[in-house]
Subunit: 456 residues, 2 copies
Amino acid sequence: VSGDLDRRSFLKGTALAGLGAGLGLGAAPPGEAASVPREPVPTAYAAAGGFTAPALPQVRLGFVGVGLQGGGHVENFLKIDGVEIVALADIDAARAEEVASWVVAAGRKKPALYTRGEHDFLRLVERDDLDLVLTATPWEWHVPVCVAAMNAGKHAATEVPAAYTVDGCWELVETAERTLRHCVMLENCCYGRSEMMVLKMVRSGLLGELLHAEGAYIHDLRAIKLDTKNEGLWRWQHSLTRNGNLYPTHGLGPVAQCLDINRGDAFDYLVSMSSPVRGLGAWAREHLPDSDPRRRMDFVLGDMNSTLIKTQRGRTILVQHDTTTPRPYSRLNLVQGTRGTFSGYPDKIFVEGRTPTHAWESIESYRAEFDHPLWAANHAAAAGAGHGGMDFMEDFRLIAALRAGTPMDMDVYDAAAWSVICELSERSVAGRSQPQTVPDFTRGRWPLRTPLGIVS
Amino acid sequence: VSGDLDRRSFLKGTALAGLGAGLGLGAAPPGEAASVPREPVPTAYAAAGGFTAPALPQVRLGFVGVGLQGGGHVENFLKIDGVEIVALADIDAARAEEVASWVVAAGRKKPALYTRGEHDFLRLVERDDLDLVLTATPWEWHVPVCVAAMNAGKHAATEVPAAYTVDGCWELVETAERTLRHCVMLENCCYGRSEMMVLKMVRSGLLGELLHAEGAYIHDLRAIKLDTKNEGLWRWQHSLTRNGNLYPTHGLGPVAQCLDINRGDAFDYLVSMSSPVRGLGAWAREHLPDSDPRRRMDFVLGDMNSTLIKTQRGRTILVQHDTTTPRPYSRLNLVQGTRGTFSGYPDKIFVEGRTPTHAWESIESYRAEFDHPLWAANHAAAAGAGHGGMDFMEDFRLIAALRAGTPMDMDVYDAAAWSVICELSERSVAGRSQPQTVPDFTRGRWPLRTPLGIVS
């Protein structure tokens, strides 16, 4: 973790921060103060309903990173009205050409390509014909790309997590506020059909007053992390220096929306605990050729991380992370209220006074009533898109908000609050599970901000 | 919580401690030191295989508390060879007569009755024809009854939790060691057929090296807690002054056995967090008559408590407690290893290299191989007994060990370690989830003690 403090100082000074510092992995030492004096919030960002920017008739899009997930986004945007795909950046020139060919095949103009290495996105963001820059790069590039885009006057959208350090989260918030640009984290799971149904149930009062929620990212990624292509090129490196929840937002984002985090409630503090470290090293020794140096590396990421978050209004959230054991996939997706509980994997529900016996009930008899209108109206268009269609829904909503000049479903405060769990969980794990205060990125405005409604 | 320190001082001085102090509810203030200098461990209690007492040809039994659960135990013992039911104590004389009539109806001698009030068990334990005193009283009497029994030379068995304060746990351990008597907490869930199957799976190596486990007591007890009879006479009072996990052992005991707690591993520390307090008060206002003062009480027990425990070998355990929301019953019962995971409610399993697809599998094809021999041999005898037969199994094993002079499946160290989660969770909740060190009741002997095997 040496060099980390240098990186953190460097981040303060420049919008291109972090670019020269390599991965800059590793949490700050436990106990180090997480907050520094922040700039005042500009009026436009202080609106209770959320920040809005002028409506765009057409959204001119530049992509940074068009690998598997970035390419999926390009495919989605080719199906959404009012989008022009102007430019693509990727360190893999062949992949950039491949994705560009999809645009051409759709009868569009070939996008400009930026393939001169890791920093070539800096040329892309300076174009004067772009409204939005979307990044689907390795995690360590999310903040630098978003910050560069916003400083160049573009809205920014990023894959998850938006940042994995406290400073990175603040940098996104401060840059968005200063430049009056959107900075959206594309948390696709907030657009899952089950998750959106739960939100509608919550908004309708079906579950009563919410008390507790659970989310997770339990996904056996051993083969993907230790592949020699795609995410296997970089994702495993985070397991070498970081022990905590590396990927909290898939499980946390949807339940945070139900709990009105940043919009009536806020995270207060968390505690975190990790199990022993076994899965990745064992898999490497069993499956990788002797020539692969990862067979001999000492990983530090505990296989199962459990984090408990307390909110300002006293509610509790369990967030788990396990990407290195053979356990079946789950995001838990549990939302518990005074009148009922929804639980995922598989979806089931209990509602006092409605469920006939004191046992979980299938959600089939609830679907017609609580299917989210966004899904009811657009499921055909989403069919075949990534992750069961929810990736399409998030891209659809992003473009809809930009074209209408309305607030984002998930804004920069959400991106920061959901992502900051990364470093805070690492600090807690490193410090015998000591509680860590979660920064209030809204600086006191969370009680006044409007909850997310049932958008359509 | 005023008066608590007085009670705690009083506890130090007398074997009848606590009797005069009423409920003595409430955790110590956060941060108060939990440990005091302890007595040296006598040789008999230092044995790696566990403490043993001389074999008893016949177990002469006295009961303190023969309500619903105590009466159930009496019924079980009437079906177990080598047991004589000598005496019953209960503050409800009619109930004592009723339970005594079952003994007579079984062709046995009528037990002596002790029904002269709360303290009449003190006369019972002084009888010279008793080997074992079993208590199924309200929680605040478990320690006083067990301590009095052991000081009078009898073995002690208690319903759960054995104690709910740190001092109470130490008092059980120290009294057992000093008197060279057994002190067993009757954690019936350790004898559940699913739980015992999981233990056999773990011992066989099916799940690989264990990493993480989850247990819970999620049981909608609102109507039972606020009844005007049985547990409704007392159990709700704990919700008036205590906020934490009031009832950890049903979920924790079975997974602690899998993880070799006190027998190769040990609890190190915990953190705990509670949700808002809603369920009990709302239920009271909706269901109780206006004359019932509980309608107007301010309960403090958070509806959902989540506790994370770290072990000395780095494994993690999630323990949850929720008795006041309408959520369906669950003890979670999840045991996760490097090769597979078992999860309860409903039972399911995934074993790498054996489960055909990357999804949970029914346990049906595992039953024949992993059904615990105790169940395979005795399921017919257990049929119809309390809680699906597991109450019979625990009573059967208790008598078997006493008659053979072998170690207990669960000894006083297990009783203390599993029960101490009560007060430690309360301290953590009260202190912004600060970590609480779990006392090592074995005083350094946990690495040397023998894990629980597959008993039969």
